[in-house]
């Protein structure tokens, strides 16, 4: 018997490095939560995992018809469906991860009040689930490029992990705030879909960032602007990557993540009592 392991329970401090070590110890649980969410989501649906593709695909079709065709939205010389789908992919990853993270404590309250595990696992697994969706939906982009005979910049694909990391930090950072507030104030659940919808219009998904002209600094305040712009530049070519903008996005998101974690840890001790 390994009598070496000692558990000490004390009044909780706000944050310590041990918390991160603990998440590593619980990585199997992280895997199981992600696995559960993926498995459960498409059970008893007719087209199953295809839902992950269906949603962004239909959005792309509608946007292409109304914004691309009728409104003649500029797209920096790239076929509009490809242009909008590249933005949509990252946008959907961000928005779905954000809303899932914000609700993760509420939807798992039965477990939170009965078993101990590092609570940070829940938001992380929510985002991991959405990452799988992202990967599946990316297949459509490849198809679109083949259809339009559009050759992407293959070297530009190397930047994608970095962009995903920034998006991950943005959605988890913001999501952690919202999840903590959501435990106490359930308003978040009602306000968030509206907020996300608004955010779509201040992010260059439907239109190119260049459309804002001298007011583009407003768009630049939105971290997703840098990410989506960089994705288009890298994969679709056109304007060179604006590294400065991307760096600002990266730093902003990192700060967001750090504050999100600190706030989450600070309020974590109440979750089981008031959820």
């Amino acid at each position: 018997m390994n009598g070496t392991k000692t558990t000490i329970i004390k009044p909780k401090k706000t944050f310590s490095w041990n918390d991160l070590k603990e998440i590593w110890q619980y990585k199997e649980l992280l895997y199981f939560f992600t696995w559960r969410d993926l498995k459960v989501r498409y059970k008893q649906t007719v087209i199953g995992i295809l839902w992950a593709i269906f949603q962004p695909f239909m959005t792309m079709v509608v946007f292409s018809i109304f914004f691309g065709k009728f409104a003649q939205m500029p797209s920096d010389g790239i076929p509009y469906p490809i242009f909008v789908y590249t933005g949509l992919l990252l946008w959907q990853f961000f928005s779905s991860a954000l809303s899932e993270t914000s609700n993760c404590l509420i939807s798992n309250q039965a477990i939170i009040t009965k078993v101990y595990f590092p609570r940070l696992i829940l938001p992380i697994s929510s985002v991991a689930t959405k990452l799988v969706d992202f990967a599946i939906a990316s297949v459509i982009l490849v198809g679109l490029m083949a259809y339009y005979n559009y050759l992407p910049n293959l070297a530009g694909l190397l930047i994608i992990p970095l962009l995903l990391l920034i998006t991950f930090m943005a959605s988890v950072g913001l999501g952690l705030f919202l999840a903590s507030i959501n435990v106490k104030y359930r308003d978040v659940r009602y306000a968030l879909p509206f907020f996300i919808q608004m955010l779509l219009f201040v992010t260059p998904v439907i239109y190119p960032a260049s459309i804002a002209g001298k007011y583009s600094w407003i768009l630049a305040m939105n971290p997703m602007t840098g990410v989506i712009k960089a994705a288009r530049s890298a994969i679709l070519g056109g304007a060179p990557i604006n590294w400065e903008l991307l760096a600002i996005s990266g730093v902003t998101c990192f700060v967001l993540l750090v504050f999100g974690i600190i706030y989450f840890k600070k309020t974590e001790r109440y979750f089981a009592d008031i959820v």
Binding site: G3, I9, K39, V115
Partner: protein, 433 residues
């Protein structure tokens, strides 16, 4: 050797907020700030210097105890005594306000069977998910998978989603996963309240085996005195967040049953908002009566009335008051539901009701009988409240020779002792001496 669990000065404080609804809306907070910014600032300032008049509630206060390796310790107490809070602190679900706990070795908790079970997943999938949530490694679950399935007895349905399981199968599978954890310390809440009697016995046997043979340590919270007595040599009695008795199980159980806060012959809930119940009906009082008076000790030969006073807050529901009787060992004596034809199918109007169940004289056995009071609705079954240990009374036989005891003075087993109608026939056998 150091004790395996060491609990030092553990206290837990809750701040009571005086609000009716479940949660606060951000909107209300914001409107309050907008309406009276000064009051808000003043309140915040007071909070900052620690003078705010918020109401504090100590769910636990200065709890100290130690548990040696291989011991099974029971924790008992009335509802709200702090048992579950203590267990939640031990498991780490909620942190203590002050104090420290040291535990040697791996710890697992069982506050509920089937935590995290997902209805859409199959039995097989849920075993893995639940196992992981309970802290088992994937490899460990793989190794024990066959044993788990066998113990649960649901082999045939292992690839069926658990939403199609009967509740019995569900509980069996859930407990089976839990029973195969191998922690050094196991913390168990009232989990045996579910499942059929036979399965409960199997579970108790398994837990007994775990402590006695494998030398594991168990902390067991329960209302079931029988289970506590069977499993635990030692016991802790909590009341209002404090330990008021600890030691040999039988002594502690006696302390509980004879303490003021243990169940008595009458219990009232003066504040309707804090009484057990819901929007439809709330409990006001439960009383044990004999010959028109509230009594602690009931004469075995006379009828005993268990009276329940309750307030119907929403009209139009058919309500069935019912009582659950069990003895000091936690053995269920019987359950009775209101079968007065006048009310059995009739939706109730708003207002105050008093229902009394009459237990005939010469039916009960001697000793303490504990009564749980509940009101339910059938089709679909809704339990509006169930107050365990609502009241208790002591049945006493005065040895006058006219009860079922007759002239026998020794102890008589059994939860009931009816005075039956006997007949004896005599026939002359014709043997001559």
């Amino acid at each position: 050797m150091n004790p395996i669990i060491e609990v030092k000065n553990i206290s837990k404080k809750y701040n009571i907020t005086h609000q009716q609804g479940g949660y606060v809306a951000l909107r209300d907070v914001l409107t309050n700030i907008a309406k009276s910014p000064f009051a808000f600032l003043k309140h915040k300032a007071k909070q900052a210097v620690g003078k705010a008049g918020k109401e504090e509630f100590w769910a636990l206060k200065d709890i100290n105890f130690t548990v040696e390796k291989g011991e099974a310790v029971g924790i008992i107490g009335a509802n709200g005594a702090g048992k579950s809070t203590l267990l939640k602190i031990l498991t780490g679900i909620t942190p203590p306000t002050t104090g420290e706990i040291r535990m040697q070795g791996s710890v697992a908790s069982l506050l509920e069977v089937g935590t995290g079970f997902h209805p859409e997943l199959t039995g097989r999938e849920n075993i893995f998910l639940n196992g992981a949530i309970l802290g088992m490694a994937k490899k460990e679950i793989n190794d024990k998978f066959n044993d788990i399935v066998k113990f649960s007895g649901v082999e045939k349905f292992i690839d069926t989603p658990v939403k199609r399981y009967s509740s019995g199968m569900y509980v069996r599978l859930a407990f089976s996963v839990a029973a195969h954890m191998e922690p050094d310390i196991l913390l168990v809440d009232e989990v045996l309240a579910v499942g059929d009697a036979e399965f409960q016995k199997k579970c108790l046997g398994k837990m007994d085996e775990v402590t006695k043979q494998a030398g594991r340590t168990i902390l067991f919270v329960s209302h079931n005195m029988g289970a506590i007595q069977k499993l635990c040599k030692k016991c802790i009695l909590l009341d209002k967040g404090k330990i008021i008795s600890a030691g040999q199980t039988q002594n502690v159980i006696n302390d509980y049953l004879h303490s003021e806060t243990g169940p008595t012959a009458a219990k009232e809930w003066p504040s309707i908002t804090k009484a057990p119940g819901n929007d439809i009906v709330r409990l006001c009082a439960v009383r044990v009566k004999q010959e028109g008076r509230i009594i602690d000790a009931a004469n075995i030969r006379l009828p005993v009335g268990i009276e329940m006073e309750y307030e119907v807050l929403k009209p139009g529901h058919v309500l069935i008051p019912n009582y659950h009787f069990y003895n000091e060992e936690g053995v269920y004596a019987f359950v009775v539901g209101d079968c007065d034809p006048l009310w059995q199918k009739k939706p109730r109007q708003k207002g105050r009701y008093t229902s009394t169940a009459w237990i005939p004289g010469n039916l009960l056995s001697e000793g303490i009988l504990i009564v749980g009071a509940a009101i339910s609705t059938m089709n679909p079954v809704i339990v509006h409240f169930y107050e365990r240990d609502a009241v208790a009374f002591n049945v006493i036989d005065s040895f006058d020779g006219d009860s079922a005891r007759g002239d026998y003075a020794g102890s008589i087993p059994g939860v009931v002792r009816p005075l039956l109608h006997w007949t004896t026939q005599f026939s002359d056998s014709g043997i001559k001496v």
